[in-house]
């Protein structure tokens, strides 16, 4: 994963609440077995029908509960592949938020009013290290889990970190913690 650094530039706006991942990347494009090439299908139906115009910019400002519905990580891949490096919204759906952090797409939660001001300002600078968003209207701070921030800043591989805990996992299994549940290979 590429480390997340300062993200600076223009914003594109999707000013709607509860945008679900079916809109972000419709199901007919989930059949690919690669992680790349989804950008051209981003918001496919809305862009094709002309009800949404989306400039390629580093920052996407969206409405509350962005990324609801299906767990498809393809939604994050499509947003990144289109060129976005950060998404700012008043609230995100849980799975989508996690998917962002696993791919180095920076999710930033700010108040609804602030999101509107950012959209109007058009230019934004996000500094993950000091957790600030700077725009013509001022500087605002955003919250992000310390551990998530650390991994994003350094572009760390989650699996690699967990495997450093190999001994703890092994001990958990040896101590009977993994004895619950079925043996699927014996069915």
């Amino acid at each position: 994963m590429k480390p997340v650094d300062v993200i600076e530039g223009g914003v594109s706006v999707v000013e709607r609440a509860d945008v679900d991942t079916d809109q972000i990347i419709p199901k007919q494009f989930l059949k690919r077995v690669e992680r790349t090439g989804f950008g051209e299908f981003l918001f496919y139906d809305w862009i094709r029908s002309g009800e949404l115009e989306l400039e390629p910019n580093p920052i996407l400002v969206a409405g509350r509960n962005f990324g609801s519905g299906s767990s498809r990580e393809h939604a994050v891949w499509a947003i990144q592949d289109f060129g976005f490096e950060a998404v700012i919204a008043p609230a995100f759906a849980d799975i989508f938020y996690v998917n962002c952090t696993k791919n180095g797409l920076l999710p930033v939660i700010l108040q609804e009013d602030t999101c509107r001001e950012l959209a109007a300002a058009g230019e934004v600078r996000i500094d993950i290290d000091d957790q600030t968003v700077t725009f013509a209207g001022g500087v605002v701070r955003f919250e992000i889990d310390e551990d998530v921030k650390h991994r994003l800043l350094h572009g760390l591989d989650d699996i690699g970190i967990t495997l450093q805990n190999e001994a703890a996992i092994g001990a958990f299994e040896a101590g009977g913690g993994a004895d619950r549940g079925p043996v699927t290979t014996a069915l």
Partner: protein, 462 residues
């Protein structure tokens, strides 16, 4: 200190702070290929294939296609064949097309008896919350997390907040679990449960079958919830008993499971109370599951809907997409299609209830109706009981198992502008086919709607 059921399961699975051990990992063809690729790139293995199981469901045609290589759509065929190859390479058991155990991943887990109380269960699919009906902690994950679980059998997780929704009273005649969860989401909104593990509790819930409980937990994600759960009881234990995956020492397992329910006095971050007896049959009118009304109501006026301009705008857009006018009685909405199926409502009880409605009647001439059993086993059981004949004689198509028209990744889709009464879980724009219009309802309501060609109040319909 008294603990919630969620706390008990979480605490028993914490390998290290924020690192949760996974007891059962379910895999399907759409969200896994990139994860397996990731393993290969890093030369990693699957840590516990014996805690992993796969099936093909999203892409499969429901026309009786017997093998992956026979799938006509090239991309779908590649995806299912890729899953089969990946499972062979990493030694993961798989029930693909042609297997008598194939079916929707959230139907076959409980059916095989591998969904059990007290487990942590994950799958690259948001409807994994279904399995919480057994008193398990079950939730959907993304593809990066699928790869993480394959490699480590663990998941990095922030502890969610807890919510309890307490239902009192008995559901009315003709009112089902589907109506209960739609009414709940209608009240709390599609982000009302975000960040929470939700426990559905109370006398209404205790009186429900496992199929009903699964329908409720299944749609937790439509309220934004991380996981939905219901305390295990004798109804749960009877379901698991005798199934292929049931624990060998069943009595010992049951004794442990009886310790799982939330302790008296345990505290939740959020508590909600719902009068179960007051719930009516529900029908969605908009483009998310929170846009829902009682069947006796009319399509709402966006001006008075929701809490503020964002909701109002969404309602205006939704009505435009759905081609509905405010004030139209829900029972005046004419239908083109009826779909009975999906991980929400495709189990044997769902099919029995729908069959009891259509028995001896005919689907309206204007309607094309289909029934898609959730698994090959549900299909076999239904055929044993003669339900397929009931549906076919009424004019329904009787299909083979898969996700089918819930999400239109296979040949079962709506045409542009078609209006469908569907027992599935999402009425998003284009979900069942580009330009298709979806109304979510219970199996009984869908069955009656197929007969009449419009929605009816199942309580007074004869």
């Amino acid at each position: 200190m008294p603990k919630t059921m969620f706390d008990k399961i979480w605490d028993a699975h914490e390998v290290a702070e924020g690192l949760i051990y996974v007891d059962l990992h379910l895999v399907h063809e759409v969200t896994s290929p990139q994860a397996f690729d990731g393993l290969r790139v890093e030369r990693r293995t699957v840590r516990r294939p014996d805690k992993t199981v796969a099936t093909a469901d999203h892409n499969v045609p429901t026309d009786g296609t017997r093998a992956a290589r026979m799938i006509a759509d090239e991309l779908s065929r590649i995806q299912v064949e890729t899953l089969e190859r990946n499972c062979a390479e990493f030694e993961i058991p798989i029930y693909s097309l042609g297997s008598e155990r194939q079916g929707i991943v959230h139907v076959i887990g409980p059916e095989l008896g591998i969904t059990q109380p007290g487990l942590t269960i994950v799958c690259g699919d948001s409807h994994t919350s279904t399995h919480g009906a057994f008193g398990a902690l079950a939730f959907g994950i993304g593809t990066s997390e699928v790869e993480h679980v394959l490699a480590t059998q663990c998941l990095v997780q922030r502890r969610p907040r807890t919510m309890r929704i307490d239902y009192s009273g008995e559901l009315g005649v003709g009112v089902t679990a589907k109506d209960l969860i739609l009414a709940t989401i209608g009240r709390l909104g599609v982000s009302g449960m975000v960040g929470h593990a939700v426990e559905y509790a109370g006398e209404t819930i205790r009186g429900l079958s496992m199929e009903n409980r699964m329908t409720i937990c299944n749609m937790t994600i439509e309220g934004g919830g991380r996981a939905g759960m219901i305390a295990p009881d004798d109804t749960t234990f009877q379901w698991v008993a005798g199934r292929p995956g049931a624990p060998e020492d069943f009595e010992a397992a049951v004794a442990a499971w009886r310790e799982l329910p939330t302790d008296e006095g345990a505290e939740f971050d959020t508590e909600v109370e719902v009068d179960g007896a007051a719930i009516s049959p529900m029908v969605t009118w908009g483009t998310n599951p929170g846009m829902v009304a009682q069947v006796t109501d009319a399509v709402p006026d966006p001006a008075g809907w929701g809490e503020g301009p964002a909701d109002r705008d969404a309602a205006v857009r939704a009505l435009a997409y759905m081609a509905l006018d405010p004030g139209t009685p829900m029972t005046d909405i004419p239908l083109d299609r009826v779909f009975i199926g999906s991980c929400t409502n495709s189990r044997i009880q769902d099919l029995r209830e729908a069959a009891s409605i259509v028995d001896g009647r005919r689907v309206a001439d204007s309607v094309r109706a289909m029934v898609v059993p959730g698994s090959q086993q549900v299909k076999a059981e239904a055929e044993e009981e003669g339900l397929d004949d009931v549906f076919r004689s009424a004019g329904f198509e009787w299909r083979t198992a898969g996700c089918s028209m819930c999400l239109g990744m296979n040949p079962d889709i709506l045409d542009e502008g078609e209006r469908c009464a569907s027992t599935s879980n999402r009425n998003f724009e284009g979900r069942q086919g580009r330009g298709g219009r979806t109304h979510l309802v219970s199996p009984r309501m869908a069955a009656a709607a197929a007969i009449e060609g419009r929605f009816v109040d199942i309580r007074t319909w004869a």
